[in-house]
Amino acid sequence: MSDVFVITEHLQGILTETSFELLAMARGIAGSGKVTAGLVGSGVGDLASQLGGADAIVVVDDPAFEVFNPEGHARVFAALVDESQAPVVLVPYTSMGMDVASDLAARSGMPLVSFCTSVGAEGALGATCRLYAGKIEADIEVDGERAIFAVLAGSTPAEQGRSGGAAIVETVSSPVDAGSLSVTCLGVTLPAGGDVDITSQDVLVVVGRGIESKDNIEEAQELADALGGAVAASRPIIDQGWLPKSRQVGKSGLTVKPKVYLTLGVSGAPEHIEGMKDAGTIISVNTDPQAPIFGVAHYGWVGDIFDILPELVEKLEAG
């Protein structure tokens, strides 16, 4: 039963999924203890109202922090954590969290554990984490009563973090003088419009030679639309000019790590596998039971992609 302080993050007016995941995790750790969410930004009142998963929210609302400031946010959060004295601090191990967690540890003297997938506060503080690019799982013990945990995205389902009642919102003035910062934000750049970025998709429907013709790619696109994902392809499809190069997965294309990687008629040449082997869940459909793709896939079905494609689309649209 420890109090937990959660560092939340947002970009372009949207709280990240990881923020909610951390709130869910915090609730599990805290039990009846208090979960406090730290929120730093400009005009973030609306965001605070979404953080019902916490018991209390400390908000620093300052135009200087409209966009994440690596130096500024780290210093503000350090002050908030210091104020809160919660024994457990959860930081997302993300682009923003990376500028906060270690800074916090160095300033506060609290131990820090990175790459966490779970955090425990029963008895001694500890965590489970994924080291060496996920190849090793390690159990960690922490000295002392307080610690910071940098948690990997996707460690806990976010749902629980979204639910909950109205938290107490406490707005404090910025403990950091923005004028003293050596880092100034010049502006945010959104990705150039144009083709889909397959590396940032949660779901990829990936077509291989088995798709047979350019026209059939439309069917795969329908499935991708139904799943809220995008269509990617193996090299032969790109070579045929059926899809742009930006959709190519593999050695000479892009390396992707979506949550779901559904292959249709991809045989699984080594060059292809190189670009997708770290995907979360790999599901493969191929007519050839010996296709090497089944060696790397988590789930496989042997059969004709043109039989299953309409079934998938139909069932998804129906329910």
Binding site: T16, F68, P70, M98, L186, G229, G295, G303, E311, K315
Partner: protein, 253 residues
């Protein structure tokens, strides 16, 4: 612009990792190490800055891996001006200790930027770059994908996610955690590395070994579960489609 680049060897990601008998660490006897790929990008970025605007590039090699000398000679062959070995006497250190070591090596040295990889696969207690910055009270930016500017003012691009980036102006001296250099790290011919080796200009810095202040201990390690081949779905296309949708939903989409 004068840069200091922090280079760390990490276990070769292509190697299959094996555990020691006590089950609390890797079996490091036969483990091969390579330069942390993000550090390689940090070095590339520093070299690009030097090529564009002059200045120097100094590299610090941190740790005790046998491969360290090769890594530093390669950096010299690529165009680094000076190379130093730090903490060669220490087995794998915590990041907090590495930061201590770097800070003592930086004493009496002037620099505009400290560059290092945004992360390394074995950084259990945080990221070296941010640690060093916070301990020295310097500004830091992590996940940097672009650096321009001069010794007076540096403009960096930080990447968030989904292709969204932000530009920052940073007053040096500062620490940058590099995600990707503006171009892929250059290739350096083996013959040039050998040449650098013959010239032998590595300096070993004998610094006082810091005590481990991380407060973090590994108690057990194991290999995560991975499926051995696919679980085959049976049934006709309708049944299979249902099962696939179930799996997709279960994957948190």
């Amino acid at each position: 612009m004068d840069s200091v680049v922090l280079l760390r060897p990490v276990p070769d990601p292509v190697e299959e990792l094996e555990l020691n008998d006590d089950g609390d660490d890797l079996d490091r006897d036969y483990l091969g190490y390579v330069l942390n790929e993000f550090d390689d990008h940090a070095l590339e970025e520093a070299l690009l800055l030097k090529e564009k605007g002059g200045g120097t590039v100094t590299v610090f090699g941190i740790g005790s891996a046998d491969e360290m000398e090769q890594i530093l000679y390669a950096a010299l062959a690529k165009g680094a001006d000076e190379a130093f070995k730090l903490g060669d006497q220490l087995e794998h250190m915590s990041v907090a200790s590495q930061a201590e070591l770097v800070i003592s090596a930086l004493q009496d040295r002037s620099y505009d930027l400290i560059l290092t990889g945004v992360q390394a696969s074995d950084e259990l207690d945080g990221q070296l770059g941010v640690w060093v910055a916070a301990k020295l009270g310097l500004p830091h930016v992590s996940v940097v994908v672009g650096v321009t500017g001069s010794a007076g003012s540096v403009k960096v691009t930080k990447e968030f996610w989904g292709g969204i980036t932000a530009d920052y102006e940073v007053r040096p001296p500062a620490v940058l955690g590099i995600q990707a250099a503006e171009q892929a790290p250059r290739y350096v011919a083996v013959s040039l590395i050998r040449q650098a080796q013959q010239e032998g200009s590595l300096t070993q810095l004998d610094l006082e070994a810091p005590s481990d202040s991380s407060g973090v201990r590994i108690t057990a390690v194991r290999l995560p579960e991975t499926g051995g081949g696919a679980e085959m779905i049976t049934g006709d296309e309708s049944e299979a489609a249902e099962r696939i949708i179930e799996i997709i939903r279960g994957a948190g989409v």
